[in-house]
């Protein structure tokens, strides 16, 4: 258990200075069962009252999850409208480059727009599982979103991975490896038959598919040879196209893949090679382990990984059956609270929990909330898809459980609980609107807030922490005129956001 493990074991009333802390009950809308909240919490960016209602309307967690696996059938107007908020995301690589050269808009600014778009999508989208899986694959097949040359193609890369995020890994891999963004990032765009550049050919084996130990250095050379031809007209038009002139021709052998590779047009051999790699048992193990680490726990049980790998291979690398098997496993069921929210997940969940509304940014928008949200992620310790290495941001808990991160997370929670920052382009709920009725006992209010912000009932510990921070007793009556609401409500909200339940998923 990462957090909350002990807390749930202390569901008994605590006491301090003669006060007893017994969690009270606010009769609000029906909550999710513990199992359904766990499922929704792992695959969505935070269990809000709206998501709770959605899961319940679907007929429970599993039914909701099944619906989520067909995102095309889910209306998503709130998220779709974000596409118009950052017009440069619609521009092609040549135009983006022209704007950079003429210093109209730099590549890093385009990538900031992309990151902001991503964050707002995560906050708003009804297709939460697709969004989560898109993030998973973009991280596994990482092309950093920064001001380096990849910015010309990076948004298109997202589009292509997103469209396949719940399909087969075979398709995802082909889309990623042959994409100009990946080619630019890992030098395949400048690889030629005379000088096959090994960067992508190696990472494809080491990171994207089979992993270290499965291949030799000779395999790396052949991997690079197979991939020659996928060029980009760098620094000029940025047009991507297959160049048969650059393709290395001749027999290639990578592990058990053996191909005459006799034709200058090597697109088919690329396809065959990537299919071979996607279907390789070592790839199945690697994908299964990463999924289990992200969605179950660090150091996932071997039996689970083996089962997921088998499902993956039995279904020709289709992801949906693997995810179904994962969420039905006992290991998944037993992993409640076992995953730490990374900095980005924390910030996004905080926006969702507080129910703030974000407004469309104007052209000149330095302090606008849709920009500040990006700085908040940076402040807590991670930029969305900003990880500067091909291996992608870590999936484990330890990487995000540091003293500096705790301080920074609490900063974000505090500033937003007080409606202090961000200030522009955002509408917060008024503090008194958090009161579900005109007059309410503090212990009942804490239970209401726990349901609203965390999607779960309050505990004795949370109640005690809320009493500690406000200096009030559990049975204190709270009204809109109470000092707590007028001056100190941020202390209450931030305490709930600083709790282990909010920092885990």
């Amino acid at each position: 258990m990462v957090g909350g493990g002990v807390a749930s074991a202390v569901a008994l009333p605590g006491s301090s200075e003669g006060v007893t802390y017994r969690p009270a009950r606010w009769r609000g809308a029906r909550l999710l069962s513990a199992a359904d909240r766990h499922l929704a919490g792992r695959f969505a960016a935070g269990v809000t009252p709206a998501l709770t209602a959605e899961v319940r309307a679907a007929g429970g967690g599993r039914a909701w999850f099944e619906r989520q696996l067909a995102p095309g059938r889910i209306k998503d107007g709130q998220a779709d409208q974000l596409g118009a908020w950052w017009p440069s995301l619609r521009l092609g690589p040549a135009e983006l480059w022209r704007r950079q050269v003429q210093e109209i808009e730099f590549g890093w600014q385009v990538m900031e727009s992309y990151q902001r778009w991503l964050l707002l999508r995560r906050i708003r989208t009804k297709r939460q599982v697709q969004e989560t899986m898109t993030d998973f694959w973009l991280n596994h097949l990482n092309v950093p979103a920064n001001g380096d040359a990849t910015f010309t193609w990076r948004f298109d890369y997202d589009r292509r991975i997103r469209a396949r995020a719940l399909g087969s890994f075979r398709d995802i891999l082909y889309a990623a490896v042959t994409h100009p963004a990946m080619g630019i990032y890992l030098d395949n765009a400048v690889s030629t038959k005379r000088h096959p550049n090994e960067n992508l050919g190696r990472e494809l084996l080491e990171l994207h598919t089979v992993g270290r130990g499965a291949y030799t250095e000779e395999d790396v050379k052949n991997s690079a040879r197979i991939l020659t031809g996928w060029g980009v007209d760098m620094w000029r038009t940025w047009a991507a196209g297959y160049s048969a002139d650059d393709h290395w021709v001749g027999r290639v052998k990578v592990m058990g893949f053996n191909h005459p590779n006799a034709h200058p047009d090597g697109r088919q051999v690329t396809r065959d090679y990537l299919t071979y790699l996607a279907r390789h048992p070592a790839t199945a193990q690697r994908i299964a382990r990463r999924l289990a680490t992200k969605f179950v726990r660090d150091q996932p049980p071997r039996a689970l990984v083996d089962r997921l790998a088998r499902v993956y291979l039995d279904n020709d690398t289709q992801i949906r059956p693997v995810l179904r098997s994962l969420v039905q496993s006992s290991a998944f069921r037993d992993s409640r609270g076992a995953k730490v929210r990374d900095p980005i997940e924390d910030v996004v969940a905080t926006y969702r929990a507080l129910g703030v509304r974000l407004h469309r940014p104007p052209a000149n928008d330095d302090n606008h909330a849709t920009r500040a949200v990006l700085w908040q992620c940076h402040g807590v310790g991670a930029d969305p898809h900003g990880w500067p290495r091909p291996d992608g941001q870590p999936l484990d808990n330890e990487s995000w459980a540091t003293p500096a991160r705790m301080l920074a997370s609490m900063d974000v929670h505090w500033a937003m609980s007080g409606s202090w920052w961000p200030k522009v382009g955002i509408t917060y709920r008024r503090h008194r609107d958090w009161l579900p009725r005109r007059e309410i006992r503090l212990d009942v209010l804490v239970d209401h807030l726990s349901q609203q912000l965390l999607g779960t009932r309050s505990t004795a510990r949370l109640l005690q922490a809320c009493c500690d921070v406000t200096g009030l007793r559990p049975r204190t009556l709270i009204t809109a005129e109470h000092d707590l609401v007028r001056w100190n409500f941020h202390r209450l909200l931030s305490t709930i956001l600083d709790s282990p339940a909010h920092l885990t998923r």
Partner: protein, 414 residues
């Protein structure tokens, strides 16, 4: 800091992955607690004997403007508008001279406390800012784990205190500091603290509440919270130091260096401080001695560094500062009074242990074609290795795995 609840023993327990793997019986009692290891560290921070400040000039600073190779006619031919005239250079020797706007650092130079090493850089060119920064700061090519050289440096002593490393900038760590050893990261001294634990909360209710929430919590987050409480308590002497911000130049660098000086003067065991200085990516309007980005950036850099060493007071003799950039710029200027991405560059080394007042490294005759670079004649790691071995007694092989440093001679031996 007088409330006894703040000295609760649980705050002196740090849970770390390194402790688990490296058998950390170094600083006190070690107990297995669930799947993690609790190491009770010493109750007071260890003072640092030596401090390293790494100042990263982000965007690829032009080393040929900062440290001018005035004896090479190609430099002047390739830069008809933006070359710095030889007669205006400071600290001139037969080959090099400093940009006139670096004048505030001249007293350090004259006192033998500041040196420059030219022709430094990565073993092979990399002209992408982000990719080059990653390579430069990871400094362990081929490694599968991401851990920067400064994290390896502070990890070498077995101490787990997050106070050993401090990124003045906040949030996402520079690659150099990223890794298993926890460090602090904040925009300034004032922001090292728990939001809400302030003068509006005289009874420390916020802290009490957080202890209620977190003290029984096991696992990495619980460990991080305990380590956080301990770190901010130990950091208190830094907050008590005088803030001499007004003696520094305007701008982010001055603010960061003023904070860095307080961190050092607080003497709470901070060993490594990282500071970023941006806006060196001068594709256009690098300019001349009368106008442009180089003039203002060089002036800001020099006055901030000079103010820093003055501000350090009696702590100055343990602080070494290294200023470096991810790569250099082309020899020949472009059509916009600027310079495109290049390769070799100059590094500055200042303070404790530096054999200053002179130039190091070699620069063969330049060529001035449109694509010509400053060649790299000294791997940047050779300079850094000399600093960490002489100042910290660290093993070069531990900080720069697989690298054989060459003698630069810029540091006095340990």
């Amino acid at each position: 800091m007088t409330d006894p609840s703040r000295a609760c023993c649980s705050e002196y327990a740090a849970l770390t992955r390194r402790g688990l793997f490296q058998g950390a019986a170094l600083a006190g009692a070690t107990t297995v607690f669930g799947s993690a290891v609790v190491t009770a560290a010493a109750a007071s921070p260890t003072e640092a004997d030596a401090v390293l400040v790494v100042l990263s000039l982000r965007g690829a600073a032009d080393g040929l403007s900062l440290v001018v190779p005035h004896s090479d006619p190609v430099y002047y031919q390739a830069r008809p508008q933006i070359a710095v005239p030889a007669e205006r250079l400071l600290a001139r020797d037969a080959t090099f001279g400093l940009h006139p706007e670096l004048a505030p650092m001249l007293p350090l130079w004259d006192a033998g406390r500041l040196a420059a090493v030219h022709g430094t850089g990565l073993p092979a060119p990399n002209r992408s800012h982000f990719a080059a920064m990653e390579e430069l700061e990871d400094a362990d090519p081929g490694s599968t784990t991401r851990r920067g050289w400064l994290n390896r440096l502070i990890g070498a002593d077995g101490q787990e205190s997050p106070l050993q490393g401090f990124n003045l900038g906040g949030g996402v760590l520079p690659t150099s500091l990223y890794g298993d050893d926890p460090v602090l990261s904040a925009t300034d001294v004032a922001s090292v603290g728990i939001a809400g634990d302030d003068e509006w909360d005289p009874k420390d209710l916020r802290r009490k509440s957080l202890h209620t929430l977190w003290d029984p919590t096991t696992g990495p987050l619980g460990g991080a919270m305990r380590s956080m409480f301990k770190a901010i308590d130990e950091f208190a002497p830094v907050k008590a130091t005088a803030n001499n911000r007004s003696r520094y130049p305007q701008g982010d660098l001055g603010a960061a260096m003023a904070s860095a000086a307080r961190v050092v003067r607080g003497n709470v065991g901070v060993t490594v401080v990282t500071v970023d200085h941006g806006d060196w990516d001068m594709h256009s309007d690098l300019g001349t001695l009368e106008w442009g980005g180089m003039r203002s950036n060089a002036a800001e850099l020099a006055s901030a560094v000079a103010a820093f060493f003055t501000d350090l007071g009696d702590q100055a003799d343990k602080v070494t500062l290294v200023a470096l950039s991810e790569f250099g710029r082309r020899v020949a200027q472009n059509a916009n009074y600027g310079l495109d991405h290049g390769y070799g560059n100059a590094m500055f080394v200042a303070g404790a242990g530096v054999k200053g007042g002179r130039y190091y490294g070699t620069m063969p005759p330049l060529t001035g074609d449109v694509d010509s670079d400053v060649p790299v004649t000294t791997d940047y790691r050779s300079v850094l290795a000399e600093v960490v071995t002489t100042r910290f007694g660290a093993s070069s092989a531990a900080v720069f795995p697989g690298f054989q440093p060459e003698q630069v001679g810029v540091m006095t031996s340990l």
